[in-house]
Subunit: 234 residues, 2 copies
């Protein structure tokens, strides 16, 4: 299948501008797109769709691309159907998925991705590329009709992956424990994507890019690290 | 209403035994109960109901109480109906709530709590005392039929509450940001319960107990701290 996706752990690195570290990659991803439809539904920090679209537009202006917020279209399904390029920003995955179901955008978004429309996801926008959203870090502040997501990847993502903090006295679950709990109930592999790394999907090849290693969790296996440049083929 | 609940942020303090810090409080809570029904559905770390019940039984033996796991009853609704005391342990809130709906235990558990049956909740077992489970920290590894929970409290709980880490370079949302996002979509107040603190519910009085302060989040207000001994009356 002619897929072209960049699936990033985070939109923003510490002390850096929104999307700055990804801009060279995005110039290549969107080389044939002048206008990119932005899906602002995840509303990070509860900001409005307008505010969020302004942030995305400012970053994309640096590579000469125009951003249009999906919320500005009367018919969002048609807007996705006609999109040259698509970007789903981060925020709350439950709010995002709920809105994608409510607007009936999810199936057409999936179709467009599988037809090869260039797609960028960051954080929650990356989570939805997995088979389900069940390895999100977000609070369930909205109740979507299903946790099933795009399935553009044959596994799930855990973005903003965090290693256990050495010497911590906090008794809340570590990220690794949470994913282990996921595997007590589910079989789907999970990729812990650290900030600064992303998955590049080119047709059927999925490659880890960026600086950090990623942590792979498979049911009943000891978790292991893969380095940048590795192919993810389960 | 004759309610008697202890709603704790965590079961276990760092370098301490399971429930150790709460045992004096539990001796009072359960003074008229010899046998306590334990709800092991949240399965922390994915452990079995049996393994989890053994852990609870070992702690309660120290105060001369017998623990029986709810999973051992043929009819869990009847078991809750007849319980002298109830304890719901922590783990994954989605798994817990899903199982409480599946077994139809949720309404009878609510009824028993409102009749004055002594109840202890820790972590996920505390989350379900709120109006909804929507301020849990857990991963959505199961899909419950609803996020509505017991409503034994007129607000929501965020257990294992964590302050932002000074100087952190991680770009994932802080707990405070996540709760702010909750309030972009919901009106329910949220109590951030730090480890080592708990809510004591006696009839209609809800009091913060333990050592740490708690953080209160109300929609469109600046979050604020309350000290141990404070009444929570919204």
């Amino acid at each position: 299948m002619p897929k072209r996706l960049i699936i990033a752990s985070t939109s923003t690195l510490h002390r850096s501008d929104y999307l700055a570290y990804l801009l060279p990659t995005l110039e290549v991803l969107y080389q044939n797109a002048n206008t990119i439809v932005f899906i602002p539904y995840a509303r990070p920090g509860g900001i409005s769709h307008e505010q969020y679209t302004d942030i995305a537009a400012k970053a994309f202006k640096k590579i000469g691309k125009k951003i249009i917020g999906l919320h500005t279209y009367k018919n969002p399904v048609e807007a996705i159907e006609n999109a040259e390029g698509i970007f789903t920003g981060g925020g709350n995955t439950f709010v995002l998925v709920n809105q994608l179901y409510k607007t009936e955008v999810l199936p057409v978004l999936r179709k467009k991705i599988f037809e090869g429309t260039p797609y960028l996801g960051t954080s929650a926008g990356s989570n939805i590329c997995g088979l389900t959203m069940q390895t999100t870090n977000d609070m369930p502040i909205a109740y979507p009709p299903s946790f099933k997501t795009l399935g553009a990847l044959p596994f799930n993502i855990n973005p903003h992956y965090l290693d256990p903090i050495a010497g911590s006295t906090h008794m809340g679950e570590t990220r690794e424990t949470r994913i282990k709990e996921f595997h007590a109930h589910n079989h789907i592999p999970v990729i812990g994507l650290r900030e600064g790394s992303w998955l590049e999907v080119l047709d059927n090849a999925i490659t880890l890019r960026g600086t950090p290693t990623a942590r792979v969790f498979e049911k009943d296996k000891v978790p292991y690290e893969i380095t940048s440049g590795s192919l993810l083929d389960f």
